[in-house]
């Protein structure tokens, strides 16, 4: 029988509130919950690992997007391909903010609208930085919870 310490209860509450805010602010969507369900004792770091891959991929793609937009003759097909990839991986982890901007970005690519594309790139960077910070904070809180003796899932 578990007896949670007061500290652990506080951490747990903080964690629950923080997580709820990520969904309410539409930074994450239901797909993130799907990922958490795939984690268990045999794969306790699954979510962190997938999210790390997402960070790597995104940073690479953001660099590529900036480079491509910087060319004298912008290759919109290439641009679209990169945005498509970013849209895919953000969708796979539930990063709905990033995904939303990707959708607009692709429309601007279709229209060959450089101004629009540049605006979207700025917006994606903002959304990406936001979700990155939020997820890193989430993982810190989860670690605090585990270190205080908590375990997933909460019984």
């Amino acid at each position: 029988m578990h007896k949670y310490s007061k500290i652990m209860e506080q951490i747990q509450r903080k964690l629950a509130e923080y997580t709820a805010s990520l969904y309410n602010e539409k930074i994450l969507d239901e797909q993130f919950i799907q990922l958490q369900q795939l984690q268990d004792e045999s794969n306790p770091d699954f979510v962190v690992e997938v999210v790390s891959l997402f960070f790597e991929d995104s940073e690479r793609l953001l660099n590529e997007l900036a480079k491509t937009l910087n060319q004298t003759n912008v290759d919109f097909k290439k641009l679209d391909a990169h945005v498509h990839q970013l849209k895919g991986s953000s969708s796979s982890i539930g990063a709905q903010g990033v995904q939303r901007v990707c959708i607009s970005f692709r429309n601007y690519c279709d229209d060959r609208n450089i101004e629009g594309c540049l605006k979207c790139l700025q917006q994606i960077k903002i959304e990406y930085t936001l979700v990155k910070n939020k997820l890193e904070t989430l993982f810190k809180l989860e670690k605090q919870f585990v270190d205080a003796g908590g375990s997933f899932p909460v019984v």
Binding site: L15, A16, E17, T19, A20, Y23, N24, K26, D29, E30, Q31, I33, Q34, L35, Q36, Q37, L38, D40, E41, N43, F46, E49, V50, L53, F54, E56, D57, A81, H84, Q85, K87, G88, S89, S91, S92, I93, Q96, R100, I103, F145, G150, F152, P153, V154
Partner: protein, 202 residues
């Protein structure tokens, strides 16, 4: 009790993130997974490129190929065609995944012989359904094998019901809560439904 043979799935996707997720989905569903990043690699693995195949006579038979549609170089559709054109491999069921619900694309894939077209992000229920479908079509002792695999798979994993929210925050945040809070959401989410109406899997 005889140990049930695990299904071996070849997963093809150029996205690191998606490869990792699909691998996990398949492992949870008690499948052996080989994940590769391109159609070219997949063909190499299957021995279709003229080179030496990684598939031994004894062990590494592939029961299902699960491939992304949009990949640089060879698309999932092109990979599907090459597999269906091969006398050796055409019997292996191929399932296409895509984040885009483009009906002519879906039709084309199904016409070329794909078993099903799954919308990304792929869910655990999609994978389990696929696994059960493949099990039904494999070997002579279908029913026994199918039952064994399902029993072994159930015992292996503590959390059985993937419709239940397993997250530690299930007490506070559930998918239902998010549903309620996002009613005013203007961003429409892509349909998560697999197009089983158009596929051969019922």
């Amino acid at each position: 009790m005889e140990m049930a043979q695990e299904l071996h799935v070849l997963a093809v996707d150029d996205s690191h993130v998606d490869r990792k997720v699909i691998e996990r989905l398949l492992k949870i569903s008690c499948c052996k997974v080989t994940a590769v990043e391109s159609g070219t690699r997949a063909l190499q693995y299957l021995g279709l490129d003229g080179g030496k195949s990684s598939m031994g006579i004894d062990g590494l038979k592939v029961n299902l190929i699960l491939t992304d549609y949009s990949m640089p170089g060879m698309t999932g559709y092109e990979l599907l065609k090459k597999i269906k054109e091969s006398s050796v491999l055409s019997k292996i069921p191929v399932v296409i995944m895509s984040s885009e619900k483009i009906l002519p694309r879906i039709d084309r894939c199904l016409e070329e012989g794909a078993e099903e077209f799954l919308l990304k992000p792929v869910k655990l229920s999609d994978v389990k359904r696929l696994r059960d479908f493949i099990l039904r079509g494999e070997g002579d002792d279908n029913k026994e094998t199918e039952k064994n695999i399902k029993q072994v798979c159930s015992r292996k994993r503590k959390f059985q019901d993937d419709s239940m929210t397993q997250s530690m925050l299930s007490a506070v945040v559930t998918a239902h809560d998010i549903e309620l809070s996002s009613q005013e959401s203007s961003a429409s989410s892509e349909s998560q439904q697999p197009l089983s109406k158009q596929s051969k899997i019922g």
